[in-house]
Amino acid sequence: MKKNIEYDPITLEIIQSSLQATADEMFASIRKTAMSSIIYEVLDMGTGIMDAEGEIAASGAGIPAFIGVLDKAVKVILQKYNKPGDIQEGDVFMTNDPYYGGVTHLNDIVLAMPVFSNGKLIAWTADIAHNSDVGGMAPGSLTGDATEIFQEGIRLPAVKVISQGETIQSVMDILIVNSRMPDTIYGDVWAQIAAVRIGAKRLQELAKKYGADVFERAMIEFMDFGEKASRRELSKLTNGVFELSEEQDDGSFYNVKITISDDLFTVDLRDNPKQLSSPVNSTKDGVMIAAQMIFKSMTDPYSPCNGGSFRPIELITEPGTVFDAQEPAPLGFYYEVELRVYDLMWRCLAKFMPERLSAGHFASVCGTFIGGTHPDTGRQYTIVEAQVGGWGGRNGADGNNAMFCGFHGETYNCPAEINEARNGLWVDQMSLNTEPGGEGKYSGGRGIVMDYRIRAEDGYLTAGYTRSKFPAWSLDGGNEGSSNYVEYLPLKGKSERFAFVSGLTLSKNDVIRVVTGNGGGLGDPKSRSQELIKEDLKNELITPEVAREVYGMMDA
């Protein structure tokens, strides 16, 4: 291989490791200072360092789904502010609108800061975080009832919020006044601003120390390295054209065609339903992230993840479909759409690549939003949380119990003790889901059953779960997993089961039961080892009937 004689490779490597350390530092900073539990516990946020053109060089993330978001935002800012002097040292930009580089939904605010060295733009630092309420028609801003993006909150179409170090108070005021939780959004946005500033400072120090040209060279090489790592693994994947059509909970069909060659991973999503007037749509950028996530998992999960890693991906969509929604389609639940595409691609390839891909998992964020009055403090509380569920059986091992879905990663559930204190309700149980489903030679992991008992009048529940009708898919003769759903168990009256529900009124002592699915099984249950079946029985994860009838155990 030809060596670069101009630049010392060790210096470049030291800069690259500092880029990663900087992205991680920005991440840790937001985590510690954020006001919303969805940021500091769920870690629904990401940080990143982009080069001057907006290509992502390094990222710190709690969520794989937030790795490829920030480059898209910075590119939109560069397009919009394209006149000399538009972008100055000390500026900070803000966007949350998926039609203006925001990628996801209006709750996710991106802050981005240009980094200068001797007057020249050399890089960007940026971060994204889910803010608890950005206005719109419903508390928490997310609602299944939205028919246009205007109902989902304030739109920030890539605007400047800090100019040369001075806060543009008018812009900040507009944002704050539009939120039902002004203190929280103010605290969270400042946590985000502090992080991009810390990152920018670190990058400036690096450029000063090693020289801006060496710094820029290190970024370029780092991305080329990411690309090399991806291409090397891509060339090892089975070549071919893979297609899948899958029925969704709402009765529509999603279709994917993946073409794998030695140097290109093409995802064709053109043949898909028209965009909806409900918020179950995604932008093309959002779907691209799903493709990037599955591609990264299939190729090289451990090499640095940057713009270079994703260069071999080609995505084709049809504008106006659910996967390439156009203004003003609402996008609140975009993440469920993103997950559906991610899972669709995974399923489409799993049986051809069992050493890289397991059976299906519960595959839904299971976004659950509960609000009301804290009975002891009288203050309003809002729970915005994702749920853990069961993962699929894999070659040689059972699936994991109770983990966040593939969209999430270093995400933490909320301890019952904190939940009860902060939100003033009871958590009556937090158990593994022992419903049947997911049996196999290697069984799917267990979802959970969690009961919230409401302690005050006039609460509300909003939820959006997918894989409620069609549970986690199995492989090689295993059984399908079980469903994700939320159950309303009122003190008086009939219980109801939901996949999507918006603004259901809750009264004192009503119970909200969250049930997440078991993962899909892998292989014929009859070939499961007797040892493991006995263990399942002893652990009360299966009944003697299931042991006998599904697993064919003789002496159960």
Binding site: D183, W190, P301, L357, G409
Partner: protein, 689 residues
């Protein structure tokens, strides 16, 4: 009359049991130091301790103060050598231990394996009964299923029972009742309840803590009992003090009750040593760095105070969520970079150092024991930083041929010479350590320029100056006897207990009484416990800290509180200090209500630690310690002819200027060109950059 005071530190490691004995002449204040090493003898660890005392010719009957450290606890956890545990928990929560927090750090790996719980589901049992977050009983405890549960545990071979109920941090009455009842019904079994170890919220973390504690309890109790009886049979008249993870020692009786607190005691003694050294030399702001064979660890000491936290995990890294243990542990960052760390080139021609280590066998290539991989040590020897003719204090003949060929292999992958490869290895290893040092300093709002770097362990002196240059640190201090510095730290320790208790209160006018009563309750409990152990109230010192945050935040910032009762006047002052501390760490402050989330009380009592005496300048000049010259490659600063000094001959008052190398049998210190060196009255080496 006695002429000297004898203080001993013994340390049981995985392979060796070490002894360091300080004999202090009462009249002159001068110390003489004896070290000895013996094999560790599982499962009867006390045998190794008695052996090493004999080997060092230390008569137990003459010992005045004995401190003891051990890795037995952490090893029994990571090697899964504990007992079968049964868990009793609140109805509806038996799966909490297995659900854990649901996180997946290795997030692109779709074959991630979640950590397997230490207690399987069939041994996790529930009782009805509920406390609220405010510590009020909302449902009475139903004990009726307990006898059946215990029968099941017996028949399954359970040897220890852990109890953890929801909100027991706020009210542990239910845990206490169940614990008493188990002791009645099944006196032989070992029982631990979560509130005995931690009074902080988060049920998964507290359950995990109770379970891991129960897991090691029977073996640890036996170990400590036998240690005490073995020592007293040999004539030791005192009671040994046991090193804790919180940088203090505690009595053997107290540690026997909750031995899990020893889990991270190894690094704690070195960091405590650094804090004490800082106070001694009037440099209370210290970044402490301990470089060993496989890892480097660092910690920041501000104004003489080590930071103690309770968010400790075992087996946690970027590929595993690990297991939490909520005990007071010194705040440290550890990376897989030490003298034995292996350098390797990946398939994309990138050079890495660590985290794999060549270990003791085969060790670095230059050991000549069959190691073929280049390590940091091999790079140091190639560059002349380590003396090839005085390798490991002259105990090993350096195999320069193997070192060279191992470096050639690395250089080949990068298209560079072995010497350039060696420079690259040093630079990458240094950069890894710099990132770790930044995590404890810059990333927490501390400017390294306000600190001195105290470096110890076998490799501390080798890298310290280069790291200090990079961080902007103005002074490096290499302690006298850097290689046995941890033992010194143990002998400088006080008896120390840290109490962390979750206590929610808004920081507003009128809150003073409530907050004060939370503190005084903990303190009076601590006093009565100390009294039971024969320690006078007047000998106990308390420090108070509060963990605060802006309302609705999750993470807290710890603020030291002034001594004396908390009154309403002080609330305003506490708020001011919180805003200031917060802004210091995060660069901004908010105009928002502040709340107290938890209190932290530190109780200490002196129990006979070493007293250091400053020696006057000897009048000897540096020439007396010179032993020659050597060509040394300083990587970024090129090659220089460095003066060699014999570390054992350095005397208080000596001064010289780099480039230089200081060698003694246990460590090498690399002094860069133009560094100013002087030896202080305690024989510590000060290097000014």
């Amino acid at each position: 009359m006695k002429k000297s005071t004898i203080r001993v530190a013994t340390d049981v490691g995985g392979t060796f049991t070490d002894l360091v004995c300080f004999e202090t002449n009462i009249k002159s204040g001068q110390h003489s130091v004896i070290t000895a090493k013996s094999d560790t003898t599982p499962p009867d660890f006390e045998t190794g301790v008695l052996n090493v005392l004999e080997k060092g010719n230390v008569n137990p009957s003459e010992i005045d103060f004995l401190a003891h450290g051990t890795t037995v606890i952490i090893n029994s956890l990571t090697e899964r050598k504990g007992v079968k545990v049964g868990l009793i928990t609140t109805k509806g929560f038996r799966d909490s231990l297995e659900i854990a927090r649901g996180n997946r750090p290795d997030f692109f790996n779709l074959h991630y394996q979640k950590p397997v719980p230490f207690v399987p589901r069939y041994l996790r049992r529930e009782l009805s009964g509920r406390m609220s977050y405010q510590g009020e009983e909302s449902e009475p405890l139903d004990m009726s299923p307990l006898p059946n549960i215990l029968d099941d545990f017996k028949s399954e071979g359970v040897e220890a029972v852990a109890i953890c109920f929801l909100h027991s941090y706020a009210n542990f009455a239910h845990e206490e009742i169940v614990m008493k009842e188990i002791k009645q019904l099944w006196p032989e079994v070992s029982v631990v309840a979560s509130h005995q170890i931690t009074r902080e919220w988060r049920e998964y973390e507290r359950t995990s803590t109770a379970v891991l504690s129960a897991y090691v309890q029977p073996a640890a109790e036996k170990y400590l009992r036998q240690l005490a009886s073995g020592l007293s049979e040999k004539g030791f008249k005192g009671s040994p003090y046991i090193m804790q993870s919180n940088c203090g020692v505690d009595s053997l009786e107290s540690v026997s009750r909750i031995p899990i607190t020893m889990v991270e005691s190894g690094p704690a003694s070195g960091f405590w040593g650094a804090a004490e050294l800082g106070k001694l030399i009037n440099e209370p702001n210290v970044i402490a760095l301990d470089i060993g064979g496989t890892t480097a660890k660092c910690s920041l000491i501000e104004n003489g105070k080590v930071k103690i936290m309770t968010n400790y995990w075992i087996e946690r890294d970027e590929k595993s969520a690990g297991y939490p243990i909520m005990v007071p542990v010194v705040d440290l960052v550890e990376i897989g970079n030490g003298g034995g760390s292996i350098a390797w080139v990946d398939e994309f021609d990138k050079l890495h150092v660590g985290p794999q280590s060549a270990g003791a066998i085969p060790g670095p290539a230059s050991y000549g024991k069959g190691g073929e991989e280049a390590t940091t040590t091999d790079a140091n020897i190639e560059l002349g930083r380590i003396n090839k003719d005085y390798f490991c204090g002259g105990s090993i003949k350096a195999d320069m041929k193997s070192a060279k060929s191992s470096l050639e292999k690395v250089g080949k992958g990068l298209g560079i010479s072995p010497t350039e490869a060696a420079r690259g290895i040093i630079r990458i290893a240094n950069n890894n350590m710099i990132n770790a040092l930044k995590l404890v300093s810059l990333n927490r709002g501390f400017d390294p320029r306000d600190f001195v770097l105290v470096a110890f362990g076998g490799g501390g002196g080798m890298h310290a100056v280069a790291l200090a240059q990079e961080l902007g640190v103005k002074k490096v201090v290499i302690p006298a006897a850097a290689s046995v510095f941890s033992a010194w730290g143990m002998m400088m320790s006080d008896l120390r207990r840290d109490y962390f208790i979750t206590h929610l209160a808004d920081l507003v006018e009128g809150a003073g009484t409530d907050i004060e009563s939370a503190f005084s309750e903990v303190e009076s409990q601590a006093i009565s416990q100390f009294k039971l152990e024969g320690i006078k109230e007047t000998n106990i010192k308390f420090m108070r800290y509060g963990n605060f945050r802006y309302k609705n935040q999750e993470h807290t910032t710890e603020v030291p509180l002034s001594s004396g009762s908390i009154t309403d006047q002080q609330i305003v002052e506490i708020g001011r200090v919180f805003h200031e501390t917060y802004e210091h760490e995060y660069t901004y402050r908010l105009d928002m209500p502040v709340e107290l989330v938890g209190i932290h009380v530190v109780a200490t009592s002196e129990v006979g630690k070493l007293e250091m005496k400053e020696m006057p300048s000897s009048g000897a000049t540096e020439e007396e310690a010179r032993k020659g010259e050597r060509e040394v490659d300083y990587a970024l600063e090129g090659s220089h002819n460095a003066t060699l000094y014999d570390g054992e001959k350095l005397k208080p008052g000596m001064e010289f200027i780099g480039p230089a190398i200081i060698e003694d049998s246990g460590s090498t210190t690399v002094v860069h060109p133009e560094n100013k060196v002087y030896i202080d009255g305690y024989s510590n080496i000060h290097i000014e950059l």
